[in-house]
């Protein structure tokens, strides 16, 4: 078994309003940044998976991403592998 580390990035689908993103965007001008638009706030999940090989680890994380870590109705998800330990 090898331990593989993944990062899972979850973001609200582009068409959906993102009130958290809007709140951040409206706060930035107070610090001088008046040139920022399209702020979106998402989630970053990091996890370790013990698996016999990279492909198997990847398949499992893809499955987790679809079935629990994101909700496909409202979110897009991206799985990134960081490193094997």
């Amino acid at each position: 078994m090898t331990t593989f580390t993944f990062e899972v990035l979850v973001s609200l689908k582009p068409g959906l309003s993102d009130p958290a993103g809007k709140a951040v965007e409206s706060a930035l001008p107070a610090l001088g940044w008046t040139n920022v638009t399209h702020v979106r706030v998402g989630k970053h999940i990091r996890l370790d998976v013990d698996a016999p090989d990279e492909a198997s680890a990847r398949t499992q994380v893809d499955d987790m991403a679809e079935r629990l870590l994101s909700n496909p109705v409202i979110e897009d998800v991206q799985v990134l592998e960081v490193a094997a330990k």
Binding site: L16, S17, P19, L68, V73
Partner: protein
């Protein structure tokens, strides 16, 4: 109602808030409230199930996401599949959507604000276990209190929900007007609650269990719970 009182199970998850109110409402309406526990695999033979409001698992990951995978939800899915009446209120609605028992999802209110006030709902269908005793177009006053109640769906889901009459309730005025001015949270098409195709699973964001006692507020929830109790008595899903 005659004979025995219908047994209505109310599931408590870690972080549920309105489980006791739901039990009390069931009792006030003449039912027999049964406390159910999220970690059990046992519905104790109840005739209907209520998933109450609150913040199960602190809304971690997404509202309702963790609770939807709790041990008891396997039994709730089976019960629903056999036609058993299931009502999800607020966080319970979020859990039903996360469990795939109802279409759509609930995201943060468009205003960013937690909203707590009495609102009016327009009944859109009588084909559900909580609206069978009501008339389409009827309006009910019921409190809402949520930060993440904006119902959204994929375009395919929305077409099906609207096309097949799966909308149970819309946010409306007292007179039944549905428009942006009566939409408290930005919900798509003012949708406050939806039902399953068979009508035995219903979820809504506002709180009928807080609207049964005239001493403390509006009573728009009485008719919904009375319908649920009737459906529970009739169900041949034990």
């Amino acid at each position: 109602m005659s004979g025995r009182a219908p047994r209505v199970g109310v599931v408590t998850f870690p972080g549920s808030l309105d489980d006791r109110d739901a039990q009390r409402a069931v009792t006030l309406m003449g039912g027999d409230a049964v406390a159910l526990w999220h970690a059990d695999h046992d519905l104790q033979g109840v005739d209907a199930v209520v998933l109450p409001g609150g913040f199960s698992y602190g809304d971690y990951l997404r509202a309702g996401a963790i609770a939807a995978r709790a041990p008891i939800m396997g039994e709730v899915v089976t019960f629903a599949g056999r036609g058993g009446p299931v009502l999800g209120i607020c966080n319970g609605f979020q859990i039903l959507c996360e469990a795939g028992l109802l279409p759509g999802a609930l995201i943060r209110n468009a205003s960013l604000r937690f909203i707590c006030r009495d609102i009016w709902l327009r009944v859109e269908t009588t084909q559900s276990v909580v609206t069978r005793g009501l008339a389409p177009g009827e309006t009910l006053e019921i409190p809402m209190k949520h930060g993440e109640g904006q119902w959204v769906a994929t375009s395919e889901q929305l077409a099906r929900v609207e096309g097949e009459g799966l909308v149970a309730f819309r946010y409306a005025s007292r007179g039944g007007l549905v428009d942006d001015s009566t939409n408290p949270n930005g919900a798509t098409n003012n949708i406050a609650g939806v039902r399953s195709e068979a009508g035995n699973v219903v979820g809504l964001m506002p709180h009928p269990e807080h609207a049964v006692d005239p001493d403390v507020g509006p009573t728009g929830g009485q008719a919904l719970l009375a319908s649920l109790l009737e459906a529970a008595l009739e169900g041949a899903h034990a």
